[in-house]
Symmetry: C2
Subunit: 344 residues, 2 copies
DNA sequence: CCGGATAATGACAACGTTGTCATTATCCGG
DNA sequence: CCGGATAATGACAACGTTGTCATTATCCGG
């Protein structure tokens, strides 16, 4: 049923160790034998058994831990990770954590996973990746990981961190609204435990400041990264004579909720109100009007984080090969669509 | 670092085989020894090594194969599967296939995966689960699986199949439109390789027939399960004096595209046109107007399919324990929202 | 063409577990 | 109390691979 290295060896007329050498691309195998083995591999459709390798200590399994309820975000990340795993012949174990869990609980869950499944390393995404308590405990426990975070500058552990410059992208989006002559621009924030909330808010503030626009305290409205939270804030913020002319929603979900609220109140978007989001989710493309937003290449970012982890894992066996970390920063790209227009 | 069975054996003063017996709850171990071993296990915090077990053929790993680009669908399924895996202490390997691949290519990929990762069984979702060629080849190859399909009645292999009665749900949705006095109801179909397309179409046709409404041939428009396909069909279908008063979109993505097209043409939904979808995706709740649709409890369905697989895998070792298969059918539930109103 | 060096190949143990069979301990009837 | 039956325990092989070391083939300088 299952083709093993020994059957390949027999067909090729060599010892199974030689087959192992060919499979692992070790050198010191004569061209003739190598070719014979490769043919046998092809003919029998041989696939190395990952389990046996794992038992020998060659764990090629990484874990993807997340506690983010945004399914579009997660699946895009997942696909980027899986693609890189496949290229490198790594296996992936997926583990969603409850977003309501405490840092301690989440940490324990992660440790249990790594032990049970002999996971060699982890890819961490926000907000877990930005939780200092969890990160430092993992570090102390000697668990390898790379992480994706929101940061406008390289973090201290940049060699294992991909950082996304939400701040600058948010600055650009805010400036786009300001250039359209908006002045009363409200900011609907995301979950406080996501670093991106703070970064995007900072970008918004900086753009307002640089353009000498005072920020009334009631313009900044805190909440969560959800449709419901956007809708609620939209209802209260927009149901007022002194309502803003534009709303910068911290992500597309919030923007969707805000848009919904505007419609409930009979406010036309974008004629009477501009709304911008962040994420380039499918909704932002499919809604009416389509949303001005910032595009994060999440699959690419996740793939990069995965590759980084794999490099890190293999360089720990043969050191000196560590990555330069020059290019771990990403800048989300503003995409102007139909939901933002100059105020009338 | 990692505690093995031998260390437990040494501490307990028994052979490692006895520890194995205790761990696996085999009988024929004296109470006294058993207790000593259990104490040693506790003291050392011993965890059986999944990899070694897997190598011995005790695979507790199942595979989730899909080639469906709908991320909301996939992640909901994934969560249902993962939850059941965790309850049963199974591991999950996730494998997305290219939706453009041929049946042969997909089959080869699946076989490669099962060999590489020593997967004990698979959970298959549409359209792979409905591809007769793939299914029968897997069967022939002795690969265990359960599948989720669209079918209005129990399929032949019901003992390993969860079936969703899309037909009946589509009948109900169509009837809802008919009860609202719609007569010119157009049907925007999904991908032909998804059985659900045909089933939902059949439900639509049956409802029309039972209400003595003739189906003009141009009312049924084929296409794909995508936003773009919905938008294109919307543009051509709606840009006509004799346009329908309602459109039954085969899923929410198509409905979203159709809604977009209607807006481009200045047609008000639901006042001038009713649009209904299928799936209860987040979009259907968040769009304006929100979409009348049919809710499929995909996480529950996926969890059920997973449990079924696990039962199947364990009953194959001790037979006679097979499941009765009485309750493998699901009926999507119609949810009436704002996008459907009687025509003016 | 010989012999030492090096390159190529192979034999075997090991990873941590479970299955098979052998060995030892215990039981029980006469 | 003996001996055969059965229960309890253990020794060892095996899963499919990689690492270590030994063996064999090839090369190359004199």
């Amino acid at each position: 049923m299952k083709v093993t290295i020994k059957e390949v060896a027999e067909l090729a007329g060599v010892s199974f160790k030689t087959v192992s050498r060919v499979v692992n691309e070790e050198d010191g195998v004569k061209t003739e034998l190598r070719e014979r083995v490769q043919q046998a591999i092809k003919k029998l459709n041989y696939q190395p058994n990952i389990t046996a390798r794992r038992l020998r200590g060659k764990s090629a399994t990484i874990g993807f831990i997340y506690n983010n309820p945004n399914s579009n975000y997660v699946i895009t990340m997942l696909h980027g990770i899986l693609a890189t795993c496949r290229e490198n012949r790594y296996e992936l174990v997926v583990h969603p954590c409850d977003s309501k869990s405490s840092a301690d609980e989440t940490y324990d869950e992660i440790v249990a996973l790594t032990q049970r499944s002999s996971v060699a390393g982890l890819v961490l995404t926000p907000p877990i990746s930005e939780n200092f308590e969890i990160i430092s405990k993992l570090e102390k426990a000697g668990i390898k990981f790379t992480r994706i975070v929101s940061s406008s500058e390289p973090p201290k552990d940049v060699e294992r961190t991909i950082y996304i410059d939400d701040r600058r992208a948010a600055y650009q989006i805010t400036e786009h609204l300001i250039n359209q002559k908006h002045r009363a621009i409200s900011f609907f924030n995301g979950d406080p435990e996501h670093h991106s909330s703070e970064e995007r808010l900072d970008g918004y503030k900086a753009a307002m400041r640089d353009n000498n626009i005072p920020i009334e305290s009631n313009l900044i409205v805190s909440g969560e990264y959800t449709f419901e939270s956007g809708m609620q804030r939209g209802k209260t913020t927009l149901d007022s004579d002194s309502r803003p002319t534009a709303i910068f929603a911290c992500n597309d979900e919030i923007a969707a909720g805000t848009l919904f609220a505007a419609r409930m109140l009979g406010i036309n978007v974008p004629e009477q109100l501009s709304i911008v989001g962040f994420e380039d989710s499918p909704f932002s493309r499919q809604s009416w009007p389509s949303l001005t937003t910032a595009k994060q290449p999440n699959d690419e970012i996740a793939g990069h984080a995965t590759q980084l982890l794999i490099d890190l894992l293999s360089s720990s066996s043969k050191p000196g090969d560590a990555e330069k970390a020059h290019n771990h920063g990403y800048l989300p790209e503003m995409i102007v669509r139909e939901s933002s227009l100059p105020p009338r």
